[in-house]
């Protein structure tokens, strides 16, 4: 995987396969502790402690289409390369939370990539799932969720190409505002 946004898409697809109806994706940049945290939390069927323990083993999978599962192990590699950790917490019947950490200043930290494209890809593939996205940089935060969107624009199909394009631009514009506001506050 070239960048973190592709890992996000990959891990979020696991949530879909676990039957989640709501998936929350968060990116938290904390400059004071030099930490980047990625959280992906779902309300899917969850895993037993045994399955959870095996989750980082690439040659373990519960699926039947192939005999291995590389999604979480790849993310784990990316974390370790940037002096971070990967934590998988799960409760059967309740859901799963994946927390990946990275050292922000680490030279081997993968670029963030196109998160907006990841979000609209998830929406296009699974329009009925409630997707949440939040991005924090120190005290600044941007959030987007499809439930609110559907409430505000009930006449529009969220997976329509024109709508997806508008959502993508909306997320990108807000992320650049987030960066600008944060950087301005730093220079004061």
């Amino acid at each position: 995987m070239e960048d973190l946004s592709l890992h996000i898409l990959d891990i979020a697809e696991n949530s879909v396969e676990a039957g989640a109806t709501c998936v929350k994706i968060g990116l938290i940049e904390d400059r004071s502790t030099d930490l980047l945290k990625l959280e992906i939390e779902d309300n899917g069927r969850g895993m037993t402690p045994e399955e959870c323990q095996q989750a980082l083993n690439p040659f373990y999978t519960t699926r039947t289409t192939r005999r291995f599962g590389f999604g979480l192990p790849f993310l784990h590699e990316a974390c370790l390369a940037a002096q971070g950790q990967l934590k998988v917490e799960s409760t059967p019947g309740k859901g799963t939370k994946v927390t990946a950490t990275f050292r922000l200043s680490h030279i081997d930290l993968k670029p963030l990539g196109d998160v907006a494209l990841t979000i609209i890809t998830l929406i296009a593939g699974h329009p009925d799932i409630e997707w949440h996205y939040y991005h924090r940089r120190n005290n600044f935060e941007f959030t987007f969720n499809t439930r609110e969107f559907k409430e505000n624009y009930p006449e529009m199909a969220i997976n329509h190409p024109e709508v997806l394009k508008a959502i993508r631009n909306y997320i990108n514009q807000n992320l650049s505002i987030l960066r600008r506001e944060h950087d301005r506050s730093q220079s004061l």
Binding site: M1, L6, L9, D10, E13, E17, R63, T65, R66, G69, F70, G71, F74, L117, T118, I120, T121, A124, G125, H126, F140, E141, F142, Y153, E155, M156, A157, N159, H160, P161, E162, V163, L164, K165, A166, I167, N169, Y170, Q173, N174, I177, L178, E181
Partner: protein, 130 residues
């Protein structure tokens, strides 16, 4: 933090009032399914999906649906996409690039000609690999 209104969506909303497009579109001319397992993603599946979206946007089509699915078990031939024209058997395309996606869009989706050079097979039967 100042929050943007989704200006483009406000504009779209106006258009929606004027036309019947967007809501509850059950009659699709074609469905594009891009495979998005770990294998597909590592091979560039997200860019393929984006390429198809671009083709749709460019022409302002409202009856072509783009969706995703997981690994189909043929990881070495990713990126893959399944194209289904309404009323016809689905066609699986393999080893895609953005350029091939564009060609498939123009030939298969717009003109109904299957691009056999990039197709794995027609129908949705399981591939038996050992």
């Amino acid at each position: 933090m100042p929050k943007l209104t989704i200006e483009e969506l406000e504009k779209l909303r106006e258009e929606v009032r004027k036309t019947t497009f967007i809501r509850e579109q059950t009659q699709f001319r074609a469905k594009i399914n891009v495979h998005m397992g770990t294998c597909g993603l590592a091979a560039g599946a997200r860019n393929i999906l984006n390429a198809f979206l671009r083709e749709i946007e460019k022409r302002g089509l409202t009856d072509v649906l783009v969706t995703t699915s997981g690994c189909a078990g043929l990881c070495s031939r990713e990126p893959m996409a399944t194209i289904e024209i309404a009323g016809q058997a689905p066609v699986k395309y393999v080893d895609l690039t953005e350029k091939k996606a564009q060609e498939i869009f123009e030939k298969h989706i717009l003109n109904g000609e299957i691009v056999t050079a990039y197709a794995l097979g027609i129908g949705s039967e399981k591939t038996d690999l050992t």
